[in-house]
């Protein structure tokens, strides 16, 4: 039996009443006498307690408004030890008293789980989700973008026709229809829409020296379409965003902001992975079409070394272009290929470039 002076609030008024609190370990109960000389027995089965700082507050489950307040450190440790021995201390309380080292390890474990989930689970889910999403979504997305933005531009119909003929000569492994559009603009860029529309700006074509480079560009962009990279990026971004906000929203806004930034970094390397896939598949398409695959690296090298050119997005934002050129070189060295000069491609290339 342990005793301590304590304060009792009866839940009727705020008057603090001094009591003597007894912990009866035999009966497993707390016993005390109230001001109106009632002896109360609180079984440890029927109490809840909060231990904050150096204060222990004990309540009875039937009436959360009556409180016993104890400040006696010895009594508190005896009481907690007794509860613990009898299995009345919850797992949560135990978790909370693990100490700083444990918290920091826990934080690392959670971050590890999150990182694992983010790096492995999200891309996997996104990949699977894309299979479920019907192609019509890609088509709609692409069509909308084309009508809103591309059709406003100065489209060169003669060059567009020539470029489409050019592409028809290539083995592109495409499952859906492809449409090429040439836009008159000094912008050095090209991009693929998920519906199979591929837009090339004359600014980029003007820089090209031969048809192999154009074939390289087409191979690269078509690979984006074939692999539904746009939809995959969208799914990953969305899934990543939902994941991050679900995991962090509880913690605080700052963490969410940091999470967002991490997420942006991550999506950068996602697209790096996609760009690399497009480089490789584009190169293989060139080999299949019996076009010299060095056209791909020539194009990259030229864009990289030409100082006047601000690197177009399909090449710049992603890692170091030199690395990509090296990777393609390696791939080319592993493959045996035959390149045959194609006069009809040369002719069409001149038309596109004129």
């Amino acid at each position: 039996m342990s005793k301590t002076p304590a304060i009792y609030f009866d839940g009727i008024s705020s008057i603090p009443r001094k009591i003597e609190l007894i912990l009866d370990e035999q009966q497993a109960e707390l016993v005390f006498v109230t001001a109106d000389i009632n002896t109360l027995h609180w079984s440890i089965e029927e109490i809840s307690f909060e231990h904050i700082g150096d204060t222990l507050e004990i309540r009875h489950v039937s009436n959360a408004s009556s409180v016993i307040k104890v400040n006696d450190a010895d009594f508190i440790s005896t009481f907690l030890f007794f509860l613990n021995k009898n299995g009345h201390v919850g797992w949560y309380y135990k978790l909370l008293h693990l100490g700083m080292k444990a918290y920091i390890s826990l934080a690392i474990v959670i971050l590890g789980l999150i990182a694992g989930g983010y790096l492995v689970v999200i891309p996997w889910v996104a990949e699977k989700a894309v299979l479920i999403i019907p192609m019509s979504y890609d088509m709609n997305m692409g069509n909308t973008f084309y009508h809103e933005y591309v059709s406003e531009n100065d489209i060169d119909s003669v060059k567009t026709a020539a470029l489409n003929l050019f592409a028809q000569q290539l083995k592109l492994n495409n499952t859906g229809e492809l449409h090429f559009t040439v836009v008159n603009s000094t912008t050095v860029n090209a991009f693929a829409l998920p519906n199979g529309d591929i837009i090339v700006f004359t600014g980029l074509i003007d820089l090209m020296k031969d048809y192999e480079e154009l074939a390289g560009l087409i191979g690269h962009e078509v690979s984006h379409v074939n692999n539904r990279h746009s939809m995959k990026m969208l799914c990953r971004n969305l899934a990543g965003y939902i994941f991050i906000s679900a995991v962090l929203s509880d913690v605080n806004g700052i963490m969410a902001v940091i999470g967002d930034n991490v997420h942006n970094l991550q999506s950068l390397s996602y697209s790096r992975q996609f760009e690399q896939q497009a480089d490789e598949e584009g190169t293989l398409m060139m080999i299949q079409s019996q076009i010299n695959p060095r056209g791909m690296t020539d194009l990259f090298t030229r864009l990289q070394t030409d100082e006047k050119v601000i690197l177009p997005t399909f090449i710049s934002s992603h890692p170091i272009t030199t690395d990509r050129i090296k990777t393609i070189h390696k791939l080319i060295q592993q493959k045996t290929y035959r390149n045959i000069y194609k006069p009809e491609l040369e002719k069409l290339f001149r038309e596109v470039k004129n």
């Binding site: 009866d10 009727i12 705020s14 918290y103 826990l106 509880d250 605080n252």
Partner: protein, 318 residues
């Protein structure tokens, strides 16, 4: 002369929370939330509130929050259902090509939910809060708040937003004026026009000084909140008073910022406890209510739907 000399009492608000302990709570909550794919959230929130309330003391006796994760989980499910319904109708309207009707309904529904969320949140939060076993309570009428809320919104819209200062103060007056702690009533005396001048002047000066004035602006906003707040019981009263200065806010915010930046956000626990400590140490109370004579008056209330709805809407109580 009936001029009774009432004895002035001593009051002291204090905060005893520690960053280290709160950090543990956050980490454990975080772990459980991740493991349960987010379902632990209501329990996590209850634990955080329990700690924050339990660390706040008036004259050495701590406040207590006895809301439970279970209550909040039920509220969470109800709130989820209500928002699911609102979003569901929006999606259906898009599907059936009534886009504009759907959007109008959506905004109207969200606005209509707001006063209910505020009301429910106040009722729940206060009824689950106690000090020395005396429960707090919120006695506002839901329908009255609803009607007032839309009246104020209407005025705000037709005055192109100018009325918003008055709306905010009216709302604060109504909400705080209906809070009880046993038989002690809360009262808020701020005036819309003063608040309007304060916010207008504060924003302009903050812009003109490239943000430097913002600390003094915060000081004024804090003082406007605290200095207008008082407690009443049986003709006696306690007046609150802010003692914070602009320099205090500058120090608080700058250190908080440094902690967050250098711990990559993990120092949030310390920032939260430091801020609470700051707030309570800067509130002075003067008056003659005897804190040993408060009587229990408020009933128990366990519906946490409003609490959870306000979470979805991202509104913070008080």
């Amino acid at each position: 002369m009936e001029n009774e000399i009432s004895d002035v009492k001593d009051y002291k608000l204090s905060f005893h929370g520690e960053g280290k302990t709160f950090f543990g709570i956050i980490i454990v909550n975080w772990l459980l939330t991740v493991i349960t794919l987010g379902f632990y959230y209501p329990w996590a929130k209850a634990k955080q509130l329990q700690y924050m309330y339990g660390s706040t003391a008036l004259n050495g006796d701590r406040f207590a929050f006895h809301g439970t994760g279970k209550e909040m989980f039920v509220g969470y499910l109800k709130a989820l259902f209500i928002f699911g319904l609102i979003y569901g109708i929006l999606i259906l309207s898009v599907y059936f090509d009534y886009l504009y009707a759907g959007i109008i309904f959506f905004y109207f529904a969200i606005f209509a939910v707001l006063p209910f969320a505020i009301h429910g949140s106040y009722r729940y939060r206060f009824s689950r809060t106690s000090w020395r076993g005396i429960r707090f309570g919120y006695r506002g009428e839901r329908n009255e708040l609803f009607v007032n809320f839309f009246k104020w919104i209407f005025f705000t819209v037709i005055t192109l937003g100018f009325y918003s200062s008055w709306m905010e103060i009216n709302l604060r007056k109504y909400l705080l004026g209906n809070v009880r702690g046993g038989d002690v009533a809360f009262k808020y005396d701020g005036k819309g026009v003063d608040y309007f001048v304060l916010t207008l002047g504060g924003s302009i000066l903050t812009m003109l000084t490239l943000g430097i004035y913002s600390f003094w602006y915060y000081k004024n906003l804090f003082a406007f909140y605290v200095d207008n707040l008082s407690l009443e019981k049986d003709g006696k009263e306690v007046q609150m008073k802010s003692t914070a200065t602009g320099g205090d806010f500058f120090k608080l915010f700058m250190l908080n910022l440094l902690i967050l930046v250098f711990t990559l956000g993990l120092g949030y626990a310390w920032v939260a406890t430091r801020t609470m400590d700051f707030v309570f140490s800067k509130i002075q109370m003067e008056g003659d209510i005897d804190l040993d004579t408060i009587l229990q008056t408020e009933a128990d209330y366990t519906d946490a739907t409003g609490e959870d709805m306000s979470d979805f809407l991202n509104i913070d109580i008080i």
